[in-house]
């Protein structure tokens, strides 16, 4: 164990003295926060969005839906439609299936206004109420941004260093000592995990302070997701860096690992309307699980049990990647 802690401590000292990397680790997320705050400062839309559940023909006589300032969106899944209403992504939900009903969000003034316009000409609907705080796009996207930052910090932070150390002989010098590949890799993982969790936590606190994020779930669960997500990403980074001494190749491999995740892990947009095969592919990626779990805890108030499948998957991926990395690990270019 003392070998593990010796390498762990040395790596931490190296990191905080590397002013270039340290500055970038904090500067980049800060730029992202500023960019998000500016980007999402648009005024509210004035058009009413009305969700429709039922046969399309049954809504033809509703005058509200014929107006140019109303946008109608059909749903085949009532709970999903209600969820949209709760998040203020719909102003009104009308069902023509069975008993004619409509739902409003009591916390939304647009919803109440849409209700009045509906009732002006349609009187045979039963009122239902729901409530929910408005989920802005920034509330939805920040979990993705946090996950993305975790990914870059973990993958590139650990991968490049190991490849460079293999290239210039630092690893060879360590190979000549009694430390094992698993001890060395574990110390790298622990050191990088400490850094990415700390940085991500600070970014979360900063975002929460400046953007007043929706956080319905437990902060402890968010921390746990960050830790397990960080572990899985670092393990992938260690696996990528396990054999090559070519920094360009390592960079290429890391980009191959990160760019698909960036676009398919629901960081910027949902894949709900995408083909099933694409969603299945995305579910293989650790960033998808980090983002979905974080979003579920923050926006839906999900419990630990409700996100446990994401956590277990990240844990399994960590174990598999670490085992492969230790098995494939080369101390030198030619060993």
């Amino acid at each position: 164990m003392k070998q593990f802690f010796a390498v762990f401590k040395a790596r931490n000292i190296e990191y905080y003295r590397d002013k270039g990397s340290l500055s970038w680790a904090f500067m980049f997320p800060l730029l992202v926060i500023i960019g998000c705050a500016v980007t999402f400062s648009n005024p509210d839309e004035s058009v009413f969005k009305v969700g429709l559940y039922g046969n399309a023909d049954s809504f033809k006589n509703i005058e509200l839906l014929q107006q140019s300032y109303t946008k109608s969106i059909s749903f085949e899944d009532l709970p999903k439609a209600l969820e949209r209403l709760q998040y203020h992504q719909l102003d009104l939900l009308i069902s023509s299936t069975g008993d004619k009903q409509y739902w409003i969000n009591t916390e939304s003034s647009s919803s109440k206004a849409a209700e009045q316009l509906l009732l002006a000409n349609s009187h045979d609907f039963t009122k239902q109420e729901t409530s929910g705080r408005k989920i802005r796009y920034v509330d939805w996207v920040i979990p993705g941004v946090l996950g993305m930052n975790l990914m870059f910090g973990a993958l590139f932070g650990v991968g490049y260093v190991i490849v460079r150390y293999r290239n210039n002989g630092v690893l060879k010098r360590l190979q000549a000592t009694p430390i094992s590949a698993l001890q060395f890799l574990s110390a790298q993982l622990a050191s990088r995990l400490l850094i990415v969790v700390l940085v991500n936590s600070l970014i979360f606190v900063g975002c929460h302070y400046f953007l007043n994020l929706v956080v319905l779930g437990s902060y402890i669960n968010l921390l746990l997701i960050t830790v397990l997500g960080g572990l899985s990403m670092i393990a992938i980074g260690l696996l990528v860096a396990s054999r090559t001494a070519n920094e360009e190749l390592a960079g290429g491999l890391l980009n191959i690992a990160t760019w698909p995740m960036l676009f398919l892990s629901e960081v910027w947009f949902s894949l709900d309307d995408s083909p099933q095969w694409l969603q299945s592919l995305a579910d293989l990626m650790p960033l998808t699980h980090i983002v979905k779990a974080t979003r579920a805890v923050m926006i839906d108030g999900a419990t630990l049990a409700e996100v446990s499948h994401h956590l277990l998957w990240m844990l399994a991926l960590t174990a598999a990647c670490m085992a492969m990395a230790a098995y494939l690990f080369r101390w030198t270019k030619s060993s």
């Binding site: 003392k2 070998q3 802690f5 010796a6 390498v7 401590k9 040395a10 790596r11 000292i13 190296e14 003295r17 590397d18 150390y165 210039n168 002989g169 630092v170 060879k172 010098r173 360590l174 190979q175 000549a176 000592t177 009694p178 430390i179 101390w331 030198t332 030619s334 060993s335």
Partner: protein, 299 residues
């Protein structure tokens, strides 16, 4: 004879290249054993197979009469030919890191004093000069008080002063009873430090023995060099036919190749020769290498 380290029929092949081709030798405890040869001879490959850094293609390596096990790494120290240390760590922190990697270590103060690291102990390791870095790497090789210290071309690229300082350190280590295994392509270094050496070229051992044994065996002759006046009748000149050794003329400088320097001197004194330009040149390992392999040590 009991050897501390023994290598039997060692081979290392890389596709079509035989880097090490059937090498066998034994190293006695407490000696400085040298592997001498030009670049690409197979010295580093051989030593790294013994260290456990690279696996042999075939062959046997014994430590204290038995195959090496996990405890071998605790009992050896290694200084590689070219290596780097962690960025942003000071010399003190590097010593502290390596101190924790072994079960038994020497006190840092002792190492700092031995290798004279005090003047730059708090400087970052990647900001050291060549000589300073080599002394730190030697300290790391000694940190676990090893029985065997492997030094792979430790003075390559150093200035003469740094080289001499390093040689003093190696002499001190030898005096402590440690076994030193040294690779070098500097014949002066091999002659000064090594008790026994093998000459390697193209992956094979050309010959083995102490430096003096090898020289006596292959190059028993010495060269007595003297400048011959243009006219042998001039005062201070001499009659070459009255010398017993073979004469070689190098543009007015005469090399008298002889097995006995005393005999040659008597012959010159008998002719009242002017000895002011006299020089005696002993054969070097470079001469030996050329004789054994047909090319220079640094081709």
């Amino acid at each position: 004879m009991d050897y501390l380290l023994q290598v039997n029929h060692l081979h290392k092949h890389y596709r079509d290249i035989k880097a090490v081709d059937d090498i066998s030798f034994g190293i006695r405890a407490g000696t400085c054993f040298g592997l001498l040869g030009p670049n690409g001879a197979g010295k580093t490959t051989t030593i790294e197979m013994i260290e456990g850094i690279i696996p042999p293609t075939s062959g046997e390596i014994l430590f204290k009469g038995k195959p090496r096990d996990n405890s071998f790494a605790q009992q050896i120290g290694i200084q590689f030919q070219s290596t780097a240390l962690q960025d942003f760590l000071t010399v003190r922190e590097v010593l502290a890191l390596f101190d924790q990697l072994y079960n038994k270590t020497i006190a840092s103060e002792q190492l700092i004093a031995l290798c004279e690291l005090g003047e730059f102990i708090d400087r970052e390791a990647n900001k050291l000069s060549g000589g300073q870095k080599q002394r730190l790497l030697l300290a790391l090789a000694l940190i676990n008080d090893p029985a065997v210290v492997f030094l792979d071309e430790p003075t390559t690229g150093l200035d003469p002063q740094s080289r001499r300082k390093f040689w003093e350190l190696v002499t001190t280590i030898k005096a402590q009873g440690k076994t030193v295994v040294l690779t070098t392509h500097y014949m002066d270094e091999a002659e000064l430090l090594c008790d026994e050496l093998i000459i390697i070229d193209h992956g094979k051992i050309i010959d083995q023995g102490s430096p003096q044994q090898l020289l006596d065996k292959h190059l028993p002759h010495k060269r007595v060099c003297i400048d011959q006046p243009a006219n042998s009748d001039q005062t201070g000149g001499f009659d070459q036919t009255r010398l017993s050794g073979k004469i070689e003329n190098n543009n007015g400088h005469l090399d008298i190749i002889t097995t006995s320097v005393e005999t040659t001197l008597h012959e010159l004194l008998a002719q009242n020769t002017d000895l002011s330009s006299l020089r005696v040149r002993n054969p070097t390992l470079e001469d030996l290498f050329i004789k054994l392999t047909g090319h220079q040590l640094r081709d």
